[in-house]
């Protein structure tokens, strides 16, 4: 009974995971995103953090940055949570569910940088945090407009040819994901990724890129 309408850019579904009305699906597209997120989550779980060494320019002095274990533990916890939210978001088969997990990605991203102590990183994270909080409005607004105009939230229904999702809902959805993940705006993220704590900090990039790739699939298929 479950079969994705043909002609989707994501390809045919390989298998589905049913949670009541929320039916997650793995197509070649979402499965590869899922595999990538899974690999990176495993890396975050098993790897030890980098130790950043700064070399003084023009001399032979260098200084190693020590990060307290407590901060690293929190960063790792948030990075794992972010990876799990990304896993759920990239295979989600329901628009509202996708919006929820995307906003969780945004919140855990803020959590990852919250453990950093340098001032300019926290300043950038503050701006980024404001955008991520504001972005929940277009994100859930898109789900609300879609539910009101089509009567359903399941992507399986929305992908059908007879159902047209209004342009403004798609635009709001993409805008919301842009704000949560900051995929196209690398301004604040360039500052953030200069922070020490390599595999955990990079989770911010990976999660936002994967969620952005997923929203492109959703917006093109609807």
């Amino acid at each position: 009974m479950f079969s994705l309408p043909t002609g989707q850019i994501g390809g045919r579904e390989l298998f589905v995971v049913e949670f009541g009305d929320v039916v997650n699906y793995f197509s070649p597209y979402t499965a590869s995103l899922f595999a990538f997120a899974l690999i990176f989550t495993v890396i975050v779980i098993i790897s030890r953090p980098e130790r950043m060494v700064e070399i003084a320019f023009g001399g032979d002095a260098y200084l190693a940055k020590e990060i307290p274990t407590k901060d690293l533990a929190f960063q790792r916890f948030m990075a794992i949570a972010c990876g799990l939210a990304t896993l759920a978001a990239v295979v989600s088969g329901d628009l509202f569910n996708f919006a929820l997990f995307t906003s969780m990605v945004g919140i855990t991203n803020i959590g990852i940088v919250a453990a950093v102590r340098s001032r300019h990183v926290l300043n950038a994270a503050y701006q980024y945090g404001i955008v991520a909080m504001v972005a929940t409005l277009p994100l859930f607004g898109a789900a609300a407009i879609t539910l009101a105009t089509t009567g359903s939230l399941s992507l399986w229904e929305l992908y059908r040819a007879g159902i047209t999702v209004p342009f403004v809902a798609k635009a709001f959805l993409v805008l919301g994901v842009m704000g949560e993940g900051m995929a196209p705006f690398y301004v604040a993220k360039a500052e953030i990724t200069r922070a020490p704590g390599a595999p955990y900090i990079l989770m911010i990039h990976v999660s936002s890129l994967l969620v952005f790739l997923r929203v492109v699939e959703i917006a093109l298929s609807m």
Binding site: G20, F96, M104
Partner: protein, 149 residues
């Protein structure tokens, strides 16, 4: 010229919120212009009747305990106990619902006050995700509160 000016504006992260706000306002204006084209779909997936006289208002979806209530779902075959969840009330909750107007819906009559079918059965994964978001937010707040500097 114009590109270098834009890129200089964007390279300062203090302008990030402004840039995002401009985007949101632009799309919102387009959305307001397009409002006449949006038609409300009458066949909603999750219909809702408000019965002000019911003691379980506004959560009343009908049904008797151990019987089925009529609840719409996108994929009924995925929810074999559809309709049983919302119909059941514990005896205490049933007493409160019968005796008072609104107490049956409150936390007072828990465990087993009215449990919404859509929140906890057909769309249960959404509820799990919402709680996870709250938990992550609380964890961040607690961490920031206890960190010393």
């Amino acid at each position: 010229m114009i590109i270098s000016r834009i890129s200089r504006f964007l390279s300062d992260y203090d302008n990030l919120v402004a840039a995002y706000a401009v985007l949101v306002i632009a799309v919102a204006v387009i959305g307001i212009v397009l409002i006449p084209g949006l038609v409300y779909e009458e066949e909603q997936l999750y219909p809702k009747q408000i019965d002000r006289a019911s003691s379980l208002d506004p959560y009343d979806r009908g049904g008797e305990a151990f019987g089925r209530a009529e609840v719409a779902a996108q994929y009924p075959e995925n929810s074999p106990y559809l309709g049983y969840v919302t119909a059941y009330l514990t005896p205490l909750a049933r007493l409160m619902a019968d005796e008072t107007l609104h107490l049956g819906t409150t936390i007072v009559s828990h465990p087993g006050g009215i449990i919404d079918e859509i929140l906890y059965n057909t769309r249960g994964l959404d509820t799990v995700a919402e709680t996870s978001i709250l938990f992550a937010a609380f964890a961040i707040a607690a961490y920031l509160f206890t960190r010393r500097d």
